[in-house]
Symmetry: D2
């Protein structure tokens, strides 16, 4: 039901991962019930079955979850709706048991991708420490609490839950980028238009039409829509067709977005609408194509009515 926030949430677990940390930025989620799911498909199935109202899963640039799984679920699984995006600045801390001294750390555990992201810091500050892989960053905290390793590179929420002590903060590479999560519900009416929104789509393209992607992008460009993300995915029928996940500026309720997605619907083998939702950060300034403002669209529609009715051309 639009406007009524869900009360039960799931997220890509286990507890203490960056996904949980992102979810906690949502007031409704802080006040509601939150349960981890072992995998993205499990999280999304919990939404589909109605077991939870919404799931938070990584969509881009994730440290732990492979976003390909999320993309494929959204593109090929039973339909779902993105109602929100969350951007989380991934921040790694080094956590040890209370009393641990940084200089005495001999083993550091984390998810392999976490280890990759703290590599520069480690080389400088703990060049002799051994690195150990765990299946998630929060598992590393659990293992440190258990005494398996000296320190864990993980999110604050994981270290705190295991009552570990912060030995060093913000140890990730400067490149440790923002991770993008999306909140997903069952299909329904899109989130309200705010004026600075994004729309996510999947466009399926038959392999045997060269230039098809160019045609798809042209549908956006002629309406002055900016693509903020594009990613091609191979499909299961490998040689049959392929698909693109696209995020564009604007809301499905906008004239310009409506016209563009109708164009996609007409030229693509299939199109799946994934949702329109508020942009988590202000859209980057870009030179909008002249003639594509809301006022331009309204003016053009009024003019067309006039010439169809036979009013004297004002031009």
């Amino acid at each position: 039901m639009p406007g009524v926030p869900p009360q039960r949430f799931t997220y890509l677990g286990p507890e203490g991962t960056f996904a949980e940390q992102a979810l906690l930025t949502l007031p409704a989620a802080r006040n509601g019930v939150r349960e981890p799911s072992a995998t993205v498909p499990e999280a999304l199935d919990a939404v589909r079955s109605g077991a939870v109202g919404a799931a938070l899963v990584p969509l881009e640039n994730s440290v732990e979850g492979a976003v390909g799984v999320t993309l494929d679920e959204l593109a090929y699984g039973a339909p779902l709706l993105i109602t929100r995006e969350l951007l989380l600045q991934v921040r790694f801390g080094l956590f040890g048991r209370p009393g641990t001294k940084l200089e005495s750390v001999r083993t550091v555990a984390s998810h392999p991708h976490g280890l990759a992201q703290v590599r520069a810091w480690m080389r400088k500050h703990l060049p002799d420490a051994e690195q150990r892989s765990t299946s998630s960053t929060s598992d590393a905290a659990v293992a440190v609490a258990r005494g398996d390793f000296d320190a864990a590179a993980c999110a604050a929420v994981a270290g705190e839950r295991q009552r570990l002590e912060l030995l060093a903060d913000d140890i990730g590479d400067s490149s440790t980028a923002v991770t993008r999560f999306v909140l997903v519900t069952r299909p329904g009416r899109p989130a309200e238009r705010t004026g600075d929104d994004l729309t996510s789509l999947v466009a399926f393209i038959a392999h045997d039409r060269a230039g098809a992607l160019l045609e798809v992008l042209t549908e956006f460009a002629v309406r002055g829509l900016n693509l903020t993300r594009i990613e091609s995915r191979p499909t299961k029928e490998r040689l049959g067709r392929y698909c693109f996940l696209l995020d564009c500026s604007g809301h499905i309720a906008d004239d310009r977005v409506g016209e563009a997605v109708m164009g996609l619907r007409r030229i693509c083998a299939d199109v799946r609408f994934l949702g329109s939702y508020p942009a988590a950060e202000p859209s980057p300034p870009y030179t909008r194509r002249p003639g594509t403002s809301d006022a331009d669209f309204a003016d053009a529609a009024g003019w067309l009515r006039q010439i169809r009715d036979g009013a004297t051309d004002r031009g």
Copy 2:
């Protein structure tokens, strides 16, 4: 008034030109009043002032009238509406006074463009005859009747009106192409949609946007509209901007044409709608871009309504 044919007509004269011959193919014109105009601007001004209901003027590939004048009047003069196109196969006959023998013809008169078009025939059949220019093909017939020259290369209607005799028929080069005339009225509701229509437009483009023409054509291409004609025209403010006269397949009442011209309205400095009218000959077969049929447009509009309302994505 739509549906009520005009009763008074004018055309690019003088009497006996190909324009009159074209006008006579219209039943309403055969039954109505027909008056020649000395020039295209005069003919169009007679429409604007209400002196006549419609004017027939050459728009393309004319033997006598410079179509540039027509284009500039339609683009820059007080607005008018094209309600009909007529294609006339220009057919030259050689006419002399009764009793004239072909072999005794020493002088042949016609408009210079007419002389150009019968050149091959003349070289073969009357290599020694002198060629004389007159200000129109029908003036040549008048001058022959008066005894100034032996024969005239002109339209049948001109030879017959002067009671001349046909000495040789169809003497034009095989290349003597079809001339296109348009019937023009005061602005009003466009002609009825027939399913095989053309729409004429003028698009004004500011000089300082490179690639602007490409953008204009893209508006047509994404809606699967074929351009059957395009012609750039310099404008009066020479360095200010320029304009294009465009004919595209389809009727302004069509969704696809409506979307495209709204796009033009948004991106061009100005757009003038010149009319939608039945195509005089069946559109040439061309590979229509997949996904741009009427059914495709209707399906896409229905699908958009569904996703905006939150109906479950059928994709």
Copy 3:
């Protein structure tokens, strides 16, 4: 022979037309032999046969010659080369026999298009004078000299040759635009590159490929070439294919023009190169697409050599 100007010239006659006036702006033509031709095809055939070295014919916006004839000759006739363009501001004077007073003028003669262009002036200054058509503006001057009419609306060169007196100068509408003539020779090496050149081409397109014109324009746009003129022409095999006459900024010797015309050669049914020649007036300022300067082209070619050779990527 490149560099050696022709010595014999022809132009669209008769003597005293604007074409002659345009030709006289060329020093080589002033010093050479000049002969009028009755029609554009005759003028061009004189070049093809070698009877003259060059012909001056109207290509755009002509008062007297139908430019369609020129276009079709260049597109379909035996190949020729444009080596020069000339822009002539068409200026009409009103000429009468010596001693004629403006207020006593009762009949004014000119080519019908000439009459159309002095209409506003006539309405104001000689509202009661009769208008008479002649087959060219210079024929009007001849007829006035002969005593047939009181005054002629024609070029200064025509009035002066007939020893007429100027009764009123610059009587054309303000809209009386610039006429564009081209100097045409037999095929050969294009005119030298000056840095501000135009290139003229004919692109033949098969009817059965929708979007073909868009593809043609894209070949120019991706190389940052501006189209200064485009005009579609029906072909003789009416339903078979159609063609476009295109003028673009740049010289065939430029990398960017070379790449674009190779692209046309690949995608069009046929392409005809009509010539590269100095622009008669400075190109209008337009926003050139970034990345398409000469330096950009040279840089990209150097970079490609490097990566093909395996030099370390500087990017």
Copy 4:
């Protein structure tokens, strides 16, 4: 050195992952030295430093490695060259200690993504077994050999190395897609052209030019190049610019690829060439844009030479 295969290899470890399995399909690697790396950046740094000659890392659709890390290393790290792609059909087996019976399996371990991919099989055949996460699929095999869990979902190479027994084969979802690995060396001359090659590039685009991606794709489309993959990546300077990883059909030595990448070089903020290498599977059949074959390119180049030299236009 071109033509001389490397003798030392690394791959995304640990031993027994799918990456090792993929590497073993290369004869040179089977005969050479192979060492696992803990992370993708470590593997690539070993190449950069010269410690190994080549590294095999996942580039698309990986079960274990986040391909985003690979993409960012290739786009932003010190330059490297892709010389080969390998496609591996990911095939999961269920492995237990010798003597284990399938029906007695109570705990199944794998990397979380591995668990996600065998979910359907597990639900059907081992609905009551507990699932346990490990940091890689091969770690699961090690843990089973140690006695921590009853069974591991992993690659055959991992099960065999730990002397485990295959309890069930091919237990992945039918959707378990092909993983794409690339073999990476230090920069140098690209792999030899085979006639069915791929070229990988990174295109950096300034944020403030709307429609920039469309321009990039147009550079490929006009040369008839098919994009087999496209993925946008946020950059470190978040609002500054973004980049695209592109794979296109063809080899950098091809005229059409050379022209297209020069175009990219001109219009993009930056371009990085990642390599040209044989396509691992025959290119999917697609309708190549007419006029873009090798013969078409050669013909156009010859024709351009002719018209530049002034040879008579054959058109």
